[in-house]
Symmetry: C2
Subunit: 253 residues, 2 copies
Amino acid sequence: MSKPLILISNDDGVQAKGICSLIDGVREFGDILVVAPDGPRSGMSGAITSTIPIKASLLKKEEGLTIYSCTGTPVDCVKLAMNQLTDRKPDLVISGINHGSNMAICVHYSGTVGAAIEGCIFGVPSIAVSVTDHSPDADFGETVRLLRQVVPVVLKEGLPAGTYLNMNVPNIPEVKGIKVKQQAAGKWINEYMCSENALGHPVYWLTGDFCNSDPENPENDTTALDNGYASLVPCKIDVTDYNYLDTLNNLFS
Amino acid sequence: MSKPLILISNDDGVQAKGICSLIDGVREFGDILVVAPDGPRSGMSGAITSTIPIKASLLKKEEGLTIYSCTGTPVDCVKLAMNQLTDRKPDLVISGINHGSNMAICVHYSGTVGAAIEGCIFGVPSIAVSVTDHSPDADFGETVRLLRQVVPVVLKEGLPAGTYLNMNVPNIPEVKGIKVKQQAAGKWINEYMCSENALGHPVYWLTGDFCNSDPENPENDTTALDNGYASLVPCKIDVTDYNYLDTLNNLFS
């Protein structure tokens, strides 16, 4: 029987330390196909490239490991892989390891999560994985250790159709374990630093602080991270608010 | 009492016919603040600009209508509006009218929907609205007519915290009405046309067909459109798969 095929992408680019650590960490579980952006695509969410063509370049091909860089977004990478770069349907998609947290509402901004959503839309069990450290030389040791507990379980059990996993790992020397949690609610505040460009016109740099709207809730993914655990949130492609359907229906019938 | 403040954005750019039709169509319901991209940003999903600064330019300021163009993404536009361009919290965010459908799983790719998600994260009732016609000169008459039924209801009733609306309108002369529906499941197939660049290297243009995985389901938003109705799907910011939490928990405890 052939080994599982694991498709890997990210949003920090194919050269990032996070994706290299991921490749090394999961290589024993299957044949690895990497299709990742040719440079940073942080904050690209589920963006797709529709007005210009994209390109892929083969960087490496050896036993069990093929690496392409791609000029597109994380979602483009997954789409191109599935449509053009392999005849086999992957058994697993892993996106990351992201340099920086993608907890709580960050699922809506994250290119790392965007790639996992795309894998899930293709019917492949998919995992987005991130560590709470933005630095280019972040330590991925604990994240790899914990992800290596998750990967064989997902390869064996699969995931429900339309559900992917969002894993975040705190940047501490000894993570206590994995906690299955819910997406924390909240928003970002003080999001811009105003500065001036060379012409003296105001320009705005994105910054800000996350404001958790229910910080005491022990079921939040953020709480798990604060307490030294990795969080694992199962997330859905179907975003319909089923609880509100009837009320809304009454308003328009 | 002051009029409601309605914040408008889109992903086709501030000059697009769709946003102009939207402004004209809802102006009577409130004071209008437009902050929209300075050009097309289709398929930008929830992307944010974090590595370069963004800029806003005041295009128009008259009684009840202020228009800015912004160098960022649709989400950037909403964030900048909320953080820097108005002291009033908007009563409503409307994103669109998009040239082209954003039904089914397109919520994950759409910049139009990205802006509505951002409004919702800020705690403002938010609506994404699209018509199933990509052409620059699409006819927005029916869409405006139906949206003008939705806007006063949402201004009066509000929406649940964390829930926004995704409205799609078929491109036909007489739309039969509005149906509250669910996000259809499916995926895109045959997504690339392979071509060659000037150097003879393969390049890939995004294209494809939507493949509905449950086409007979009368509750799908796609079905409503096929049957000549506008679809209205309530969507959630919280994407947690609550039904799978216990099973996943058992796998990791």
